[in-house]
Symmetry: C2
Subunit: 357 residues, 2 copies
């Protein structure tokens, strides 16, 4: 199978080899050194300030989204949430559950945020902004610069879910004033799923220490304390953390986040060029290199996903809910090549001949 989904994605041979090894015992200095290196490289690739800290949480990306809201915000905050899809809605649900006052800017599926929407919000003192850098459900890549300027103007805490955006897009935490940047092991980090990562500005760290959290597992204070010695409060997904280490070092040696971004962008451009003239439209206004959301004009999107899986050995990423027949997504993250793109295009062309797209 060739995997064009947006996670789990394909891993390099080096990363997969580590998956074949026994997982080592981890309450050791040797494992701590690996965790220190993971923290250093995550900070480097996120362009984080020197005093930033990194927490590696064993869980899905949603675990980090919830932990960030629980630890950095309080009932005295007022959060502004950009909600243009299922991951924006997830931030809304999390704030609702934890009784964080919020206002949501609702956007249409695939619509980018502009100055206009920001001007229309109620005239209230918002203290935090929550956004999915890449709303993965529709592939819209929000205008982070606009949101960064808005946060700075209003001295707001800036929380960015970059789960499917980190490494695919270049996001400079320090310049943009981002306080929490999240990603997951199975996105452009291209490791198996099971670890989500939070890079935290000094401001976010201070807020965490000042906050009381009604959870043992999601309380980031012990996580930050243990991270000082390269450890975690509970047994983490040690194997995946070792794979992340190999992957971060490989990215660093190959030219860092800029080179990784260029590789992903080249794959995305190649695919987007090759589908020109086919019965497909790009669904979304502003795109990240991470993923191309495609609207087939003469077939059901979910049927295309099934046929590619069952007859061509290719996974693309189906959409859920209302969009399932309308949009499919093609990811450009993970260990993919131009030749893989060609195989997907050939399969789609063959399906076109068969009247299936």
């Amino acid at each position: 199978m060739i995997n064009f989904t947006v996670g789990p994605v394909q891993s390099t041979e080096e990363v997969r080899k580590i998956g074949a090894e026994n997982v080592p015992y981890f309450r050791t200095q040797e494992f701590s050194e690996i965790m220190f290196e993971n923290e250093r490289l995550m900070k480097k690739f996120a362009f984080a300030e020197e005093n930033a800290k990194v927490v590696f949480l064993t869980g899905s990306g949603t675990a980090s989204m919830e932990a960030a809201v629980m630890n950095v915000l309080t009932k005295n905050d007022k959060a502004l949430i950009i909600n243009g899809g299922s991951f924006g809605q997830r931030f809304v649900n999390i704030c609702k559950i934890h009784k964080i006052p919020y206002y949501e800017i609702k956007l249409e599926a695939g619509q980018n945020i502009t100055q206009k929407e920001l001007e229309e919000i109620p005239n209230e003192d918002f203290s935090a902004l929550l956004v999915n850098a890449n709303e993965t459900s529709t592939g819209v890549h929000y205008d982070l610069q606009l949101l960064s300027d808005f946060c700075k103007e209003h001295s707001m805490t800036f929380i960015v879910d970059a789960i499917s955006s980190f490494l695919a897009d270049i996001i400079d935490m320090k310049t943009m004033g981002i306080d929490v940047l999240m990603t997951g092991s199975q996105k452009a980090l291209a490791c198996p799923p099971g670890i989500s990562v939070m890079v935290l500005s000094e401001k976010a760290v201070n807020k965490i220490y000042a906050n009381e959290v009604e959870s043992l597992y999601f309380d980031l204070k012990p996580a930050l304390e243990d991270a000082k010695r390269g450890q975690t409060p509970f047994t983490p997904a040690v194997g995946i953390l070792l794979q992340i280490n190999a992957r971060l070092k490989a990215i660093d040696e190959a030219g860092g986040v800029e080179a990784e971004h260029r590789k992903i962008a080249a794959l995305a451009d190649d695919f987007r060029n090759k589908i020109k003239g086919m019965p497909f439209e790009i669904f979304t206004e502003a795109l990240s290199p991470a993923v191309t959301p495609v609207r087939p004009t003469s077939a059901k999107a979910y049927d295309i996903f099934l046929t590619l899986k069952d007859e061509y050995g290719i996974w693309i990423c189906p959409n859920g809910g209302e969009l399932s027949d309308i949009v499919f997504r093609v990811g450009h993250i993970g260990d993919l090549t131009i030749e893989d793109n060609d195989k997907l295009i050939e399969a789609l062309q063959d399906m076109q001949k068969r009247g299936l797209v």
Copy 2:
């Protein structure tokens, strides 16, 4: 390195091979079938009732401990907690955080629970009992039959952390009236860490559906709903779930939980026999086959851990906190053999000659 810790432990070649493969896309019927099989075999090995359900949570074992308390208990419960070590204390901390009224039976490190301690508790209407089947910090294997009888007599909900006990000990949920049984992927399941598992009785499932939980990630209602179609609400640690599948099937083919228990017990007996006459005492009253807690009589426990790691290529499991110089633990779970025991004994004998134990 040979790994005698209590997790992560050594995996079979079959399990490790899956770790070397790319992780497949999982929102498919193919993955759902694997999850159904995982549920069926977990229920079989836990001797769960037909209507029991299984939740696979991406997280450490502690994530399941917290989710179980949050979802099955309410502020109207009164919980009795057996607290004889750091994992008993963890249940206490979780109940404290979530404002579940509780009373703790405090036991000395290594002490088993008896009728006497149960007779001394306050004369209150306790509605639930929480226990770590194997208090892994000291290796004490509590008298589950005594606790089962007590729960039945008082119609209490019975929550059992079997994280390091499942498969090493035979625990019959149905006969014992256990409502929640938890384990983790990196214990006797002998897969990498990252997944914890909850087997839930029909009574526990009903309590979960009747309960409101202030968490998105730990709310088990969507997890139970998605499990009906073999799926999870958030991207799980797919690779580890595939490894669990291979491991559960291998156990089933090799004679099931009884055969696995016999294998682990034979390793434990062998080790315990071979250290007779050495300057070691068994620390604990009642033992599980999973682990042997050892008190060296003429050396510091933590020093023995370091020397074995650095000079003999062997990991044993050090203790934390107050017990770190007093006790080390030798695990008997994972892909270990009698020959591995011999290598450990030889190393300890060599250290004895060198005056290091």
